[in-house]
């Protein structure tokens, strides 16, 4: 008993396309409002899809958020690492090519990440929201992959000794994705943004090579570092990370009927 009275023409039937449209819209809004701020209505509106259709693809708001976060993470993995070095070499050793790729500021992972982050600030932001909201940020596939690559580099003799892999993963990943947020606020043209990206990779490389402090100016600090900090060995310390698969359902705030 329902004719298509006015309104926009019925959407062409294309399940996968619709699903993708919904995910993209959800990603955009995720970047704007965070996981708790996301509403199915807004997503549907932005995706130019009836809200009911969204519920056809994702049974509940929670599931939509969930699906969107893994989709975002997949996008990141895909775009930054491609299918190269995805699963193989899981023993922690890098092939020489991978090691070179990681370190090289031209065409290496760092530049790749920065480029992608600058080009897709929304995805990066959405991903950060997700990380901030997750009880186990390090379970994220992108996070794991990056950490794995970097750990491989650390074990080569091109790396300085005593690097803490986890601290570095936090610094690099987060920095790379937050930089575009900062840079957006200080640029107007695409050209400027390109310069910002370069500025970031340059500084990362500079930092990686020389740090920020002149060691000769801090003799006793340097002495303390070589023999390790008082309380701890200060080694790479990849600590097995108390697994504890706490997968709580996390009852939603309370909106909606039955």
């Amino acid at each position: 008993m329902k004719k298509n009275t006015g309104g926009r023409p019925r959407r062409r039937r294309d399940p996968d396309g619709t699903r993708l449209a919904i995910l993209e819209a959800a990603g955009t809004l995720l970047a704007k409002d965070g996981p708790e701020g996301l509403s199915v209505s807004q997503v549907a509106q932005l995706a130019k899809v009836n809200r009911g259709t969204a519920y056809q693809h994702f049974q509940t708001r929670e599931q939509l958020v969930e699906a969107t976060t893994v989709w975002v993470s997949e996008q990141l993995c895909q775009s930054v690492f491609g299918k190269t070095a995805a699963g193989k070499n899981a023993d922690g050793k890098l092939t020489p090519e991978e090691q070179a790729k990681l370190a090289d500021p031209r065409g290496g992972v760092i530049e790749h990440m920065t480029q992608f982050a600058m080009a897709n600030p929304e995805l990066g932001r959405a991903w950060m929201f997700q990380v901030l909201s997750s009880p186990q940020p390090a379970n994220d596939p992108f996070w794991k992959l990056y950490r794995h690559l970097f750990e491989g580099f650390v074990q080569t003799d091109s790396a300085q000794p005593g690097i803490d892999v986890d601290v570095h993963t936090v610094l690099m990943i987060i920095g790379t994705f937050l930089w575009p947020v900062w840079a957006r606020a200080h640029t107007r043209t695409a050209k400027e943004r390109e310069q910002m990206a370069e500025r970031f990779t340059n500084e990362i490389v500079r930092l990686s090579m020389y740090g920020t402090m002149r060691p000769e100016k801090y003799p006793e600090l340097a002495a303390r570092l070589v023999k390790g900090a008082p309380g701890k060995p200060a080694r790479t310390a990849a600590k097995k990370a108390t697994k504890k698969v706490a997968k709580k359902p996390a009852a939603r705030k309370g909106r909606g009927a039955k």
Copy 2:
């Protein structure tokens, strides 16, 4: 015509205390849900205050969020920097003591920040949400203060040449506040958390002193760095930051009556 029928006993009259309770509750929830996920109802419930009371202190949800963010930032400034080095020496030059304080890993700003961040992961998280949601992250007082201090350090001869202050500010601030999020997920006892804090400061100091890559392994990279990147001078480049005070009202999603 309203008696106190059942319910909890009326709250003792204490405006400032109430206001503070609301702000603290709001801060906690801000850390959990982000600015868009914050609801006045939840805040009131957590603060053990009637929802109407919250509206007495903050006319609207938006204003509550706003007030909470500035409060969080103030807490941060207060706790990390104290009232030392707040406004004076705004010319960018650090006194020798300040410079020493900044750099010293024992009792310096870095350790201070890390300690505070580890002790108050919620505040840090709330602050990060805020930064992520703000169109102008660098306008945050805490951000400005940290940047100012670091810039002072960069201009001393204890610093390596060519440091990009903005990139560093992003890395350090964000890293410091995200580290506790990661660390929380991997620790159980307070002792462990203390070690995590130390691990972070140690790595920051190590990174600052030696970087991650052995320069001798990357001769042509090193050569490129000293004479600057091809496209740009790659100098300190503190770029005057297009002020543009875009203070948009940012119309709320649309809940609520009239």
